[in-house]
């Protein structure tokens, strides 16, 4: 906006032409028209959430005083009113995003609240997982019917809660896999919306929600072969990184690129975890016989993830220049190699993982230095510093050695930053 104020001055100083000034003014006008919609959308959704919670509090306060029949009517009205609103919006004003999103969101919560209320009124004792599953199945069509990104987001978050409930429901051993089917339902719409409106705030939140939900739930596939979840997670983080580093996402600001951050941070944390020898102890007892592997959910998950990762990698090889590549793109492949090696020699695998983390840090320093980017340099230094901290927990290193390592990393931080600032100053001069 400050640029708009400066426009007359810029024109009079012959820095820009009056035509350019006119174009800039029109650009900001267009932007202004679009931005209140975004604000309205966010506040509309927040308002819908608050209204829903508020009604529940008011009802809860006087609830026990009401006779059972009134309680039941209330439980049904709780669904009927938002249903009517949704129906009205769908018929009369389907183009109004704020109305569509807020009414659909209220209905989403109303269905869950109504089932809970009926259970409470009639003392119906049920499983957490069956309640969640019923709620999700009854509300997931709203994502498509109401074309609602807000419902898609809360749905994704809710199925994340459903996942452990289903995993530990011993009555139905296969229910845990239902979660993965539920997860697939909103993805096509998310993809289409992303293609249509990549700058939509709710779609940007999806870029965070999806990797977050997957990170929180992949581990529930772990059964007998727990150790296989390490490569499983590593491949998944590799996929996130590749999506975040793809041509469409790379140009985005970091805050809009949840995949890249989840991919990178997840990879580093997992490598640091595997840099401890103690975390490889299950490797010795794991039964990796083919007959055992083929029925292991961990192995099936790895296979699917691996195929997806290879397809993404192949696609990136085709379109991306070699200069755009970095080690992060293939960390999952290197880790997989180290992991297989670890079955034969854990010690060697641990050394290689440590070297991999170190290489990641060094390469980031190099990239940061090339781009004169302090953020990248310091992230690289941070990776190395974390590696040093992790090694300081190893009891077989002497205190002198641990201390020296810390001092060296500390000096490294100072020197790297000092050199970078000096380089920048020289450029400016």
């Amino acid at each position: 906006m400050s640029l708009q104020k400066d426009l007359p001055e810029l024109v009079s100083a012959n820095i820009i032409s009056s035509d350019t000034a006119q174009q800039i003014t029109e650009f900001y006008k267009r932007k202004q028209v679009a931005s209140p919609n975004r604000q309205l959308l966010i506040f509309g959704i927040l308002g819908a959430l608050l209204v829903g919670i508020g009604i529940m509090f008011i009802v809860a306060n006087q609830w026990e005083e009401l006779p059972q029949s009134i309680q039941t009517i209330c439980a049904f009205l709780l669904i009927l009113v938002p249903q009517f609103l949704c129906g009205y919006v769908l018929l009369k004003m389907p183009q109004k995003i704020v109305w569509r999103e807020s009414t659909a969101l209220i209905l989403f919560f109303a269905v869950g609240a109504s089932i809970s209320l009926v259970s409470q009124i009639y003392h119906i004792n049920g499983e957490m997982s069956s309640f969640m599953l019923t709620w999700m199945l009854l509300t997931v069509p709203l994502i498509y019917l109401m074309d609602s990104s807000a419902v898609s987001l809360v749905y994704l978050f809710s199925i994340m809660i459903y996942c452990p409930a289903a995993r530990y429901n011993l009555s139905y051993p296969f229910e845990e896999y239902v979660y993965w089917l539920l997860l697939l339902i909103p993805i096509p719409r998310y993809y289409l919306q992303y293609k249509k409106m990549p700058e939509n705030i709710l779609i940007i939140i999806h870029h965070w929600m999806i990797p977050f939900v997957l990170t929180m739930t992949l581990g529930y596939l772990s059964h007998e072969l727990k150790i296989l979840m390490y490569p499983g997670y590593m491949i998944m983080f590799g996929i996130f990184y590749m999506i975040g580093n793809s041509a469409t996402f790379r140009s985005k600001i970091l805050i809009s690129n949840g995949y890249l951050l989840f991919g990178f941070i997840g990879t580093v944390i997992l490598l640091l975890i595997m840099s401890f020898k103690s975390n490889w102890k299950d490797m010795a007892v794991a039964n990796f016989q083919i007959s055992n592997l083929l029925i292991a959910p961990e192995f099936i998950a790895i296979t699917i993830l691996f195929i997806a990762a290879c397809l993404l990698l192949f696609q990136q090889v085709k379109v991306m220049k070699l200069t755009k590549w970095n080690l992060n793109n293939i960390v999952f492949l290197l880790f997989l190699f180290i992991f297989i090696l670890g079955k034969q020699d854990v010690q060697l695998a641990v050394i290689l993982v440590n070297l991999l983390v170190f290489a990641l840090g060094i390469l980031m320093l190099r990239t940061g230095s090339k781009k004169s980017h302090l953020g990248v340099i310091n992230t690289g230094m941070l990776v190395i510093a974390l590696l040093v901290v992790c090694r300081s927990f190893d009891s077989d290193l002497t205190f002198v050695l641990k201390g020296t390592l810390f001092v060296l990393v500390g000096i490294g931080f100072f020197v790297a930053n000092w050199l970078m600032i000096k380089k920048r100053n020289n450029h400016e001069v």
Partner: protein, 200 residues
Amino acid sequence: MKSRKLLFSAFIVVALAQLFVPWQMISEQPKFAETGVEYKFKIDSKAKSDNNWAGASIRGKYIWLKFEEDQIKIADKKEWENFQSAYVLLTHDSAGFAKIESATKTKPQNSIEWIRAKTWVHWKDTTTLHLEYPFNMYYFKDTSPKEIESILKNGLSDSLKVNYLSVKIRENQFFVNDLIIDGISFKEMMDKVKKSKPGK
């Protein structure tokens, strides 16, 4: 226009399904009330709770109850973990109180008299499986907790008095009838307290 109509029709179908589920839950209740089996769960007057009364304590608007029949001996300690769910098959003892027949990991096939309970095993005694029933929190309507406190203290600390919770059970569904303290209904006691209060 045609697609909008189609969309609206689909929405109507979904809306009906959303209403059908709670309706079905309610419609199954009479069947449950007819066929549910009544069980009397004796309150453990020896157990110490948070507030140091025997067998019960107030938590908000709930009374936490500790039952005598809430544990079973197990042979294989590795079989059970904490916070698992167990299917508790129930029966009646000679005095007519609830008794655990067995606790299994799979749903009982030949009986309707079972309830699911959360498990925990104490690290010192791994041969006993402790069970937490879903009805161990008894809800009381708007009454001063102080009066309830005195009723519970007087009623539950005397081990000679028979105190129990009456619950109807059928295939994991339950309906809490009443809390009986020394032969008197807790609901009736509360009504008396309410009536005796000025302005009530």
